[in-house]
């Protein structure tokens, strides 16, 4: 069930009405309802993988209790590794088996050995990377004595499988979400309105920007050999906006939906394309994953405590793992590697915390210096996205070499160029709105400050009509991050 489908448009109001009216605001009943609807939501994709979700929930629920109740350190450690190995084992089999099998076979054949590693037709269970990381954060936090175990199985299950975040995050923390699930929730008018507004903005991003950009990005990437360097640059730009609006649009809908139920999820995006350096970009892009890697990988590896080399090593490790988390392909690993390279100067010269504030805070326009640093960061990001989007390493390399040719200085041209102009105009308008609203949680939140109800409502209607007239309804396009 996609967020931008009729099914979800029917599902959400039904759950909302039952949640606030049929449960008599009884917390236990509300949580049971959230759990049942979350399982239904997941089963709509593929009910066969329900067992994995339930198994993962049971595993972490019981090992969590075991970790907490173990009196000695060795036992605690045993239960922690028991959970980590099984969780990562499932993730490894479903997501990475074929990658390892073919990579080992290719490696051996280079050494002159013939290896017969059979690849399996494995379907990737949707959301497995997300709910596995939920569970892992829970058991690691327990092991570190940051939290106490959740004894109520329903509450714990809601934490793992709450439907707005189940298939593509944000990756929640037990310390943030579990207390909200345990606490009695009252309907909050402003929170609910804010939720609806964020859903509307998310739909706009997904249907108008991401899905339209996807069409042109696919056209150009799938026939890249036929296009000029300038057209390839345009293709990379289309993908850059596609992936941002697809994923941040999804996150907006998820956060807005959760707010309708009185729950606040972790913010996942904070206007990353206005970043002045790569370190800032990574504080603003897929925040819940970046902070997960920082807390559960970078810091346990020693973080920045062991001197410069340790810092460099650990930075490379988290970026490579982050790339690998996105998918079993060398292109994702190269994407991670490139980002590690980009961030290195700021690690070495200790400037990675230079840009903590919002760019041009309180001002309408940025300075020339800010514009140039935003431009450079954006350019580097676009370049890295080419590897992320390419169908394989050779495709990525031929795409890049295609860009750096004499045709880079010609006018872009491809089938559908005239229709693409409308999308380009929409992207420009979108980025202007994002710039104006950059000091808010999400851009459209700024409309809250407009006092006139007529203007506010007119603005919502304009967005709705834009979604209707300019949205891409060709075929419902799945959210990119569902595959991770």
């Amino acid at each position: 069930m996609l967020f931008n489908s009729i099914d979800f448009a029917i599902f959400l109001p039904i759950v909302f009405i039952l949640y606030w009216f049929a449960t008599k605001k009884n917390l236990r009943v509300q949580n049971i309802l959230l759990l049942v609807s979350s399982y239904f939501f997941y089963a709509c994709w593929d009910w066969r993988f329900m067992f994995l979700l339930i198994f993962s929930t049971l595993l972490d629920y019981f090992t969590g209790i075991k970790i907490y109740e173990s009196t000695n350190h060795r036992k605690k450690m045993f239960w922690l590794w028991f959970s980590v190995i099984i969780n990562l084992g499932f993730l490894g089999v479903f997501k990475y088996y074929n990658f390892f099998a073919t990579s080992v076979a290719n490696g051996l054949s280079l050494l002159g050995f013939q290896a017969n590693m059979s690849s399996l037709q494995i379907i990737l269970p949707v959301g497995i990377s997300f709910y596995t990381f939920h569970g892992l954060s829970y058991v690691i936090d327990l092991y570190k004595n940051r939290i106490k175990p959740e004894r109520n199985f329903v509450d714990y299950s809601v934490f793992v499988s709450f439907f707005p975040l189940l298939v593509a995050g944000p990756i929640e923390r037990a310390t943030h979400l579990l207390p909200q699930i345990r606490k009695k929730r009252e309907f909050d008018y402003s929170k609910a309105i804010d939720g609806l507004r964020q859903i509307l903005w998310g739909l706009f991003k997904k249907i108008v920007i991401a899905d339209n950009c996807a069409e042109y990005a696919n056209t150009i990437f799938n026939n890249s050999a036929a296009y000029s360097g300038s057209t390839l640059v345009l293709g990379a730009l289309f993908f850059t906006f596609q992936i941002y609006c697809d994923f941040s649009g999804y996150s907006d809908i998820a956060l807005g939906t959760a707010r309708l139920f009185g729950i606040d999820l972790l913010k996942n995006f904070a206007f990353p394309y206005f970043s002045r350096d790569i370190a800032e970009f990574w504080r603003r892009w897929h925040i819940s994953l970046s902070s997960w890697f920082k807390d559960y990988l970078y810091i346990p590896l020693g973080g920045s405590r062991g001197g410069m080399w340790m810092k460099i090593r650990n930075t490379f490790i988290i970026f490579l793992v982050s790339g690998f988390w996105h998918g079993a392909s060398w292109t994702f690993i190269v994407w991670g590697f490139l980002n590690a390279l980009y961030i290195m100067p700021s690690i070495i010269f200790d400037t990675h915390r230079n840009n903590l504030d919002t760019v041009a805070k309180g001002k309408l326009l940025p300075t020339v210096k800010e514009i140039s640093s935003i431009g450079i960061t954006f350019g580097l990001t676009v370049f890295a996205w080419i590897f992320f989007r390419a169908n394989g390493m050779s495709h990525a390399l031929s795409y890049v070499s295609g860009i750096f040719s004499a045709s880079l200085f010609t006018l872009p041209k491809f089938i559908g160029m005239s229709e693409a102009l409308t999308t380009i105009i929409l992207v420009v308008i979108f980025m202007i709105v994002e710039w104006i609203g950059r000091e808010n949680q999400y851009a459209l939140e700024i409309i809250k400050t407009v006092r006139s109800k007529v203007i506010r409502w007119s603005f919502y209607l304009v967005i709705l009509l834009t979604v209707y007239f300019y949205g891409n309804f060709g075929e419902t396009v799945e959210f990119i991050y569902f595959q991770f």
Partner: protein, 292 residues
């Protein structure tokens, strides 16, 4: 909560009014006539896309019902045949299009699935909800119909265009096909060819459905006859040997194909445009096809 519900209801009301406008438009300009069901007196049917439209009701003289509709694909034709079978029509013969473009990927995407849904039965769907969604919810929530949206947008554009663009911007717009210069004809045929034969590969899904139709007719003892509709000289020349091969599929299953592609090759006056007959051509063709 009351304030929230009121706000949401007001918002929904606006959406509902807009949906009402779109639905009325769709009924007038899109769904109209598609749901016209044949009388049970007919036992023979013509099923085609827009190429079958010029036949109009001339076929009724021969007791054959023209069940064609613009953009009908094999997906839609299969639904119609199943509908006739399930509703106890006595079917002897089905004349079905096997034109060169019938298996094109263009036809796979530009089909009538959202309209022919009225002929579908619950067996076609994996759940009762899917059936309700496809057949009823999507119809009444017209704002969710991509094709209706495209038509509505086009309609508004055309109407607004008159405000700022002078009429007769294209002098050849209303000139009949046979009066057009050869250069103009070639220009139009090239555009048409690009739309229908833009891809090198045929649609696998349409081919599978075509085979299902052949088997369905066999199982129900229906005589299936393939027709290739007449096309004008310019189109024949430019098309060359381009053919996605629907006719060959039928022939390989031992089904008769009547190839009328070249019968009006020297009669531009029988055509309305690049590859469609006009009413005059349709009338003559019907006689040739059905007057045994």
């Amino acid at each position: 909560m009351k304030k929230f519900i009121l706000g949401v209801l007001s918002f929904l009301l606006i959406l509902l009014i807009f949906n009402g406008v779109v639905l009325s438009f769709a009924n007038l300009h899109y769904y109209k006539n598609y749901d016209k069901k044949p009388s049970k007196n007919y036992s023979s049917f013509i099923m085609s896309d827009s190429h079958g439209l010029p036949i109009g009701d001339f076929s009724e003289e021969f007791n054959v019902y023209n069940f064609s509709a613009g953009s009908d694909s094999y997906f839609d034709i299969e639904r119609k045949i199943k509908y006739l079978i399930e509703n106890d029509y006595k079917i002897d013969t089905i004349y079905m299009t096997v034109d060169d473009h019938a298996l094109s990927p263009h036809r796979e995407h530009a089909n009538n699935l959202d309209r022919s849904v009225i002929y579908s039965s619950e067996d076609e769907y994996d759940s009762h909800f899917s059936y309700l969604r496809e057949k009823y919810i999507k119809y009444y929530l017209a704002i969710f119909q991509p094709r209706v949206r495209t038509l509505f947008k086009q309609y508004l554009k055309e109407n607004f265009k008159h405000i700022y663009i002078k009429k007769n911007d294209n002098p050849n717009k209303d000139v009949p096909w046979y009066k057009l210069s050869e250069n103009e004809r070639i220009k139009r045929v090239e555009i048409r060819k690009q739309a229908q034969f833009g891809s090198e590969f045929k649609s696998k899904k349409l081919e599978e459905t075509l085979i299902e139709i052949i088997n369905l007719c066999r199982m129900n003892k229906i005589e299936l006859i393939g027709i290739k509709f007449p096309i004008p000289n310019t189109y024949v020349k430019i098309l060359g040997d381009k053919n996605f091969g629907a006719d060959k599929v039928l022939l390989s299953y031992g089904v008769t194909v009547i190839d009328s592609k070249l019968i009006f090759i020297d009669h531009n006056e029988y055509f309305k445009n690049t590859d469609h007959m006009n009413s005059k051509g349709g009338k003559i063709f019907t006689k040739i096809l059905l007057d045994k």
